[in-house]
C-alpha cells in the first residue's frame, strides 16, 4: 500500500522540477497513544528553495507533522527523509534544520539581550567546552542584520514587540546556517504590518540563500501570496500548487478537507481585515499587493 503511495508520480511535489529534495515524506501514519490517529497516508516532497505553506484546522496534525520532520516524533508507518537522511540521525547536522517555535514569547525580564538570544542558536554547534567566541558573535550580528534588527542587539529580548521577537527567533535559527526553516504559526502574534515584513524577509532569504521554508499558518491569504505550494492538513494531506490558488471559488474547491468552523471564521476575519483585498482579489498574481499589510486602506 505504502509502496504504491511512494510511486513518484503519486507524490505531491515530487514531480516538480528544481533542486534536490529537502523533505521527502512517504506514506506517513502517526497516532498518539491517547489521542488517536493524527496523520494518515501523508505524502509530499519539498525541494530546495521552495516555500510550502501548511494550513488546516486545529488538531489537523500540522504541529505533529513538523515534529516528525524535526525528528522529535517517529511515525508508526512510512518514511521521512530530511536532506536525504533520517531526521533522528542527523546528529550535528541537526543545525541544518532551523526551527521557529509557535510561542517565542520571552519572559519580560529574562536576563538576555537580543545578541544573547541569537547566540543561543550557536550553542548546539559549540560542544561541551566552548563558549560562544568572536566568530559566533560575528555570525550572530550578521543574522541580526539579515532580519533587519541591526542596532537592537543590545536590547533586552523580553522587552521587544511580538514582531521583533519573531525576528529574533528567526535570526537565532539562521545563525546556525540552516538549509531548511520550519516556522510554526509565526504570524499569529503579529499585526498585518509585521506579517508583511516577515513574508518579505522569508522571500529574501529564499532568494539569497536558497533556503527552503515550511510554514504552518492560519493566514491563508498571506500564504496564498508567498508560498509556492499549499498543503492542507486534516489528518490526510491535500496538496495544491500555487497556480491553482486563484480565487476563493477555487480555494473552496481544492480544499478537499472540510471547510469547518475554523475556515469560515477565518474568512470573516480576513474580510474584516483586508476589506477589498479579500481572497478573490489575489487573482492577479502572487506579488500583487505587498502593501496589504502596511496599510489597511480602511481610512479612505
Amino acid at each position: 500500500m505504502s509502496t504504491q503511495a511512494a510511486a513518484p508520480a503519486a507524490v505531491p511535489g515530487a514531480q516538480n522540477a528544481g533542486g534536490t529534495p529537502v523533505i521527502e515524506v512517504r506514506g506517513v501514519e502517526f497516532a498518539y497513544e491517547k489521542g488517536g490517529q493524527a496523520l494518515s497516508g501523508v505524502n509530499f516532497t519539498v525541494r530546495e528553495g521552495e516555500f510550502l505553506g501548511l494550513i488546516g484546522p486545529n488538531g489537523g496534525g500540522k504541529t505533529t507533522l513538523l515534529k516528525i520532520v524535526l525528528g522529535l516524533l517517529v511515525p508508526q508507518k512510512g518514511s521521512v527523509l530530511v536532506l536525504g537522511r533520517d531526521p533522528r540521525a542527523l546528529g550535528a547536522d541537526r543545525r541544518l534544520i532551523g526551527y521557529v517555535p509557535q510561542d517565542s514569547g520571552v519572559r519580560k525580564h529574562f536576563p538576555a539581550t537580543v545578541l544573547d538570544v541569537v547566540l543561543m542558536g550557536t550553542y548546539s554547534s559549540l560542544g561541551l567546552f566552548r563558549r560562544p567566541g568572536a566568530k559566533e558573535r560575528e555570525a550572530a550580528l550578521a543574522a541580526i542584520r539579515h532580519v533587519g534588527m541591526e542596532g537592537l542587539e543590545g536590547r533586552m529580548a523580553g522587552g521587544l514587540s511580538g514582531g521583533q521577537q519573531q525576528r529574533v527567533a528567526i535570526a537565532r535559527a539562521l545563525v546556525a546556517r540552516p538549509k531548511l526553516l520550519l516556522l510554526d504559526e509565526p504570524t499569529s502574534g503579529l499585526d498585518t504590518g509585521g506579517q508583511a515584513q516577515l513574508f518579505d524577509l522569508l522571500e529574501r532569504l529564499r532568494k539569497e540563500y536558497g533556503l527552503t521554508v515550511v510554514m504552518v499558518s492560519h493566514d491563508v491569504t498571506a500564504l496564498a501570496h508567498f508560498a509556492e505550494h499549499l498543503a492542507c492538513l486534516n489528518k490526510s494531506l491535500h496538496w495544491h500548487d500555487r497556480s491553482e490558488l486563484i480565487s476563493e471559488e477555487v480555494l473552496r474547491k481544492v480544499y478537499a478537507c472540510e471547510l469547518d468552523a475554523f475556515f469560515i471564521k477565518h474568512r470573516e476575519h480576513l474580510q474584516e481585515f483586508h476589506g477589498d483585498h479579500a481572497p478573490a482579489g489575489h487573482a492577479h498574481g502572487p506579488h500583487c499587493d505587498h502593501d496589504h499589510g502596511h496599510d489597511h486602506g480602511h481610512g479612505h
Binding site: 526551527y99 517555535p101 520571552v106 525580564h109 536576563p111 538576555a112 539581550t113 544573547d116 543561543m120 548546539s124
Partner: protein, 298 residues
C-alpha cells in the same frame, strides 16, 4: 582586633566558615537556574523531601548523600506520577508530597534515635560537622560545579525556551532530571549548614537578588555566586559572636542583601523606579504649559 579574629583561632570555626562559603557558592550558582526556571517551590520541596533519606542513611550507616539522593528522586517521581494521574494542580501536588516525605523523616528520626538529632537535620549544625561529611559535601559541590560548568548553555536555553531546546536536539526530560538531581544534591550539601528548613533560601535568594541587579545572565551568575559565598562565610563568622544559629545568620544576611537590591538596584529597584516616575511626571508637567499654549489658538 584580636577580638574580631577569635573565630579563626578555633579549627571548628575555620572549617565552618570555609565549608559554608563553598556551599554558598554552589547554591548561588544553582539559584540562578532556580529563579529563571521558576523552581523555587520545587527547591523547597526537594530540600524537605531528602530528610527521610538522610535519616535512613544514618540508621543504616550509609553515606547520607546517597540516602538523600534516593529519597529526593523518589519524591520527584511521586510528584510526577500523581500529577499525571489527577487533575490536581502542580503546586498542591508538590505541597502534599514534600510534607509527606518530611513527616516520614521526622517520624523516622523520632522513633529510631541515632547519632543524628532532628534539630541537626531541620536547622543544621555546621559547627559539629564531621570530616567525612565535609568530604561528601566537597564532592557534591565539585560535581555540581562541573556539571553546570559544562552544561550551562543547555540549561540556559532550556530555561529560556524549552521548545527551541527540544528542536535543537536537547532532551528536556534529561535536563529536568539533571536539574532535579543537582537541586537534591545541593540541598544535601546545604543541609548541615543551614538545615532542611532554610535550604530553599540559599537556593533562591542569591539568584533573585542578582536578577534585580543585572540584565545579563553572566553577571547574574557571578553576582549570585559572590553573594552566596560572602553571605555564607560572613554569616558563619557572625554566628560565633551572636552565639546563634549559623543557618539563621546566613539567611538573614541574604535577605538583607535582597532588601538592599530591592530598594537600591540601579534599574529594577524601588528607588530607581520612583526617581524615574518622578522624572516622567516632571517632564509631563514641563510639557503641559506649552501644550496649553499651543491649544489656545485652536
Amino acid at each position: 582586633m584580636d577580638y574580631l579574629l577569635t573565630p579563626f583561632h578555633y579549627e571548628y570555626m575555620q572549617k565552618a566558615i570555609a565549608v559554608s562559603a563553598v556551599i554558598g557558592a554552589v547554591c548561588g550558582m544553582l539559584s540562578c537556574f532556580v529563579t529563571l526556571k521558576g523552581w523555587s517551590l520545587m527547591g523547597d520541596a526537594l530540600s524537605h523531601a531528602i530528610v527521610p533519606g538522610v535519616a535512613l542513611a544514618y540508621l543504616l550507616g550509609l553515606p547520607f548523600a546517597l540516602g538523600a539522593f534516593v529519597s529526593g528522586l523518589a519524591a520527584a517521581l511521586l510528584m510526577g506520577w500523581v500529577k499525571a494521574r489527577t487533575p490536581i494542580r502542580e503546586d498542591a501536588v508538590i505541597g502534599m508530597v514534600f510534607t509527606t516525605f518530611f513527616a516520614a523523616g521526622v517520624l523516622l528520626i523520632s522513633i529510631f534515635p541515632s547519632n543524628i538529632s532532628l534539630k541537626t537535620i531541620v536547622f543544621g549544625n555546621i559547627l559539629g560537622i564531621a570530616d567525612s561529611d565535609i568530604q561528601q559535601m566537597l564532592i557534591i559541590a565539585a560535581v555540581t560545579m562541573l556539571v553546570i560548568g559544562l552544561k550551562w548553555k543547555d540549561l540556559l536555553l532550556f530555561a529560556f525556551d524549552p521548545h527551541q531546546a527540544r528542536a535543537v536536539g536537547l532532551n528536556p526530560t534529561l535536563l529536568n532530571v539533571m536539574l532535579l538531581t543537582l537541586l537534591a544534591a545541593t540541598s544535601v550539601a546545604a543541609l548541615q549548614t543551614v538545615g532542611a528548613c532554610l535550604v530553599v533560601a540559599m537556593l533562591v535568594t542569591p539568584g533573585a537578588t542578582a536578577y534585580l541587579l543585572t540584565d545579563r545572565f553572566g553577571k547574574m551568575m557571578a553576582l549570585a555566586i559572590a553573594m552566596g559565598t560572602l553571605t555564607a562565610a560572613v554569616g558563619a563568622y557572625l554566628s560565633y559572636f551572636l552565639n546563634g544559629s549559623t543557618g539563621g545568620c546566613i539567611v538573614v544576611l541574604q535577605t538583607a542583601c535582597f532588601m538592599l537590591a530591592l530598594f537600591f538596584a540601579p534599574k529594577h529597584g524601588i528607588v530607581a523606579s520612583r526617581v524615574k516616575g518622578r522624572a516622567k511626571v516632571q517632564q509631563l508637567q514641563a510639557l503641559q504649559p506649552r501644550a496649553e499654549r499651543t491649544s489656545e489658538p485652536a
